[in-house]
């Protein structure tokens, strides 16, 4: 069954990042499978209006500027008219929101459910429970997930976290991992220095990514092994700590700090290494280690979040989040490299190429879409019941908001009736025309 899907998020091209490339790649693969996909996001500077990306992927850059953390101001009701218009114009039957940080995604899902359009939500990150910001965010997530038809998480740990935060039934959550474009991350042996063992680090130098651990591991490893060198890509507030370590231990020729590395240049840096080091303190999936494995590097990483689920034991050395444990694991990896006991770069690349593909992700996502399309409609009363379960006081507030949104929808239907809204041209039909398949008169 072919669907019309609307991907919504605050994070999309021209921003580069994990969620952004996830949405783009997934959309492309779904288009390959014959579905219609559009993307809705906010304006980026002057970039506002409708743009087309490859394969007819239509992107709506809504004329709303981001205010904080690349997200729009959450107003709940003001996005209703424009989202309703888009969903009707494009005859959307599934809305797919990405990232719990994105206010636009959560609001669009809410409006979609008010209009009885099926909704899916993908969660890309892990959250705590104890501090004030987490408590508020989790309440908002409970609200969003109470209305959604199905949720997707990128790892099993992420699923457990989402189920606990959102208080939803675990069988309503599917685990579909991220993927990597293996044709971009290919190994090559020519860039590597054969005399030395190169350890590559590619992450933002912030506390969350374990920059402090990195700073304590580097001098220890450098003193134990004289032929090891570090290449560190990425920038951030903790860069100073790494530079201080370099100064203090006189390791100028053994540590190279590259600063921010553009997305297109990441592969060039990765193929210079033998070992990839990841010291994050929390990760839902960690696409960086899969990219590194695809380039043929052996991975050494802290065993946090969803990382233990991603790579098999012969491709990754896991360590506790402490300097001593990381040093031990790095020692093991270096020893294996010296004795040539590591998986060959081409072998690793082939494994990643077969295991983590976007086509596989699209196939599994399609199963989710088919399942929710076949599910029965939920009445307004049922929805309000579900919102009520979110909490003693919060439940009543959510019911009020949901009911008000429904009334506003009726108002919108009265002001701008459904019959008067023009349907947009379907790009799939245009493509078929281009390939010379269909007669023009038959294309309506």
């Amino acid at each position: 069954m072919k669907h019309s899907i609307c991907m919504v998020s605050d994070f999309f091209y021209p921003n580069i990042g994990g969620v952004e490339s996830h949405i783009y790649q997934l959309s492309q693969c779904l288009i390959e499978r014959g579905h219609k996909v559009i993307v809705v996001t906010h304006a980026y500077g002057n970039r506002s209006g409708i743009r087309y990306l490859s394969n007819g992927l239509k992107v709506y850059y809504l004329p709303i500027q981001p205010v904080y953390n690349q997200c729009i101001l959450p107003t709940v009701f003001t996005t209703l008219p424009v989202i309703r218009n888009i969903l009707l114009r494009e005859s959307i039957n599934i809305v797919h929101g990405h990232s719990a940080f994105s206010a636009l995604a959560l609001e669009s899902i809410f409006h979609a459910r008010t209009m009885n359009v099926k909704a899916v939500f993908t969660d890309h990150s892990l959250f705590g429970f104890a501090d004030l910001s987490s408590i508020l965010t989790n309440k908002i997530l409970k609200f969003s997930l109470a209305g959604v038809n199905h949720a997707i998480c990128v790892s099993h740990t992420c699923k457990e976290n989402t189920v606990l935060r959102g208080k939803i039934d675990p069988s309503d959550v599917s685990v579909i991992p991220n993927a990597v474009d293996a044709s971009v991350f290919t190994p090559t042996s020519t860039e590597r220095d054969p005399e030395k063992i190169t350890i590559v680090v590619m992450s933002r130098l912030v506390y969350r990514k374990g920059a402090d651990l990195l700073a304590s591991v580097i001098p220890e490893i450098c003193s134990r092994h004289s032929d090891v060198q570090f290449i560190i890509g990425g920038d951030g507030p903790k860069r100073l700590a790494i530079e201080e370590v370099r100064e203090h231990f006189q390791l100028h020729d053994r540590i190279r700090l590259l600063g921010t590395v553009g997305h297109s240049a990441v592969r060039q840096v990765l193929v210079r290494g033998d070992i990839f080091l990841n010291t994050s303190l929390t990760e839902a999936f960690c696409i960086a280690i899969v990219e590194a494995a695809s380039c043929g590097l052996q991975v050494v990483s802290t065993s946090v979040g969803g990382i233990p689920e991603v790579l098999p034991p012969d491709m990754i050395q896991l360590a506790e989040p402490s300097a001593t444990s990381l040093v031990e694991s790095l020692d093991k990896a270096i020893a294996k490299r010296r004795n040539c006991q590591l998986l060959s770069p081409d072998g690793a690349h082939d494994w990643v190429r077969k295991t983590y593909t976007w086509q596989n992700v699209a196939e599994r996502t399609e199963i989710v879409y088919d399942k929710i399309s076949a599910a029965t409609e939920v009445t307004l009363a049922d929805r309000l019941h579900r919102y009520n379960k979110c909490g003693l006081v919060a439940g009543k507030i959510f019911i009020f908001i949901a009911a008000l949104n429904y009334l506003l929808l009726i108002l919108c239907n009265w002001i701008s009736p459904v019959q008067n809204i023009d349907l947009a041209i379907d790009c799939r039909k245009l493509r078929r025309l281009k390939t010379g398949g269909v007669n023009l008169e038959q294309s309506s």
Binding site: L281, V310, T355
Partner: protein, 278 residues
């Protein structure tokens, strides 16, 4: 036959790279196995909590004493000279006690510095007190009392009671108290009144907490009775409110805290941000 089927079915593994023949929304028995609840809870003992609630009461005593002193001065029961002399004497005694308790070496330099600070403050305070008095003179008395109430409430809320919470801001708390004293000082007849009230406020809200922290002796009963007596002479309604407040904070709040402990629900698991182990 059923047994051989079970043996051939492998145990479900929590990995993403294997196709384990189950649907994506499969929920295994090991779901949420690694979740741990309430790892680091502390058990509270009622009388220990009551003793600790004393810290909050001490600051509340300061606030009530301050307000009682203001009312006494306004009713001309207390003269500014008496207040200034008494508070200075108590401050000097307190300073010596603090000195002795901390077992500081007789660093004459730091004593000289403290003496200089005190001198500068007194001179500045005295010369600026006409301004201090007229700062808020044009505002109506009701507004003044309302502002004072909120400022003293802010003083109580943001005071450093010894915990490491984000809401604590010693500077803000002190500023609120001094602003409250300036508000009240404008209602008094002469600059001498204003000066002595503001000096008293400084000693009470800035210096007394330092000594209190180092003393660690429960002066509660003594202080509590002082407060009760001074407030009673101003208004009988106020003293009843004070005693009820005292009961609430010292007895009811600890009981409430202990009653809520069984409902604690701290969730820990592999999704938590890792704490770097040394």
């Amino acid at each position: 036959m059923a047994m051989s089927c079970d043996r051939s079915r492998k145990k479900w593994q929590k990995v993403l790279y294997k196709d384990q023949g189950v649907s994506d929304n499969y929920v295994d028995e090991s779901f949420l196995e690694e979740m741990k609840k309430n790892l680091h809870i502390r058990t509270y003992e009622f009388w220990a909590v009551v003793r600790e609630s004393n810290v909050v009461m001490q600051q509340i005593y300061s606030v009530w004493i301050f307000v009682a002193v203001y009312f006494h001065m306004r009713n001309f029961v207390l003269t500014p000279q008496f207040l200034f002399e008494m508070s200075s004497a108590v401050t000097i005694v307190g300073y010596i006690v603090n000195f002795v308790i901390l077992h500081e070496n007789a660093l004459t330099k730091s004593r000289w510095k403290d003496g200089k600070t005190m001198g500068i403050f007194l001179i500045l305070g005295f010369s600026l007190s006409p301004i201090l008095m007229t700062l808020t003179k044009t505002i109506s008395t009701d507004t003044i009392y309302a502002m004072t109430f909120f400022m003293l409430l802010a003083n109580l809320l943001f005071h450093d009671y010894g915990t490491d919470a984000a809401i604590v801001s010693q500077a803000f708390s002190l500023n609120a108290a001094i602003f409250a004293s300036i508000c009240l000082a404008s209602r008094l007849p002469t600059t001498w009144h204003a000066f002595s009230l503001v000096t008293f406020a400084f000693e009470l809200f800035a210096l007394w907490p330092i000594l209190r922290r180092n003393l660690k002796i429960i002066l509660s009963f003594l202080l509590g009775s002082v407060v009760t007596v001074s407030v009673a002479t101003v208004s009988s309604v106020a003293v009843v409110v004070f005693l009820l407040l005292h009961l609430f904070i010292t007895i009811l709040c600890p009981a409430w805290l202990i009653r809520l402990q069984p409902y604690k629900n701290n969730i820990h698991g592999p999704w938590d941000e890792a704490v770097i182990k040394q």
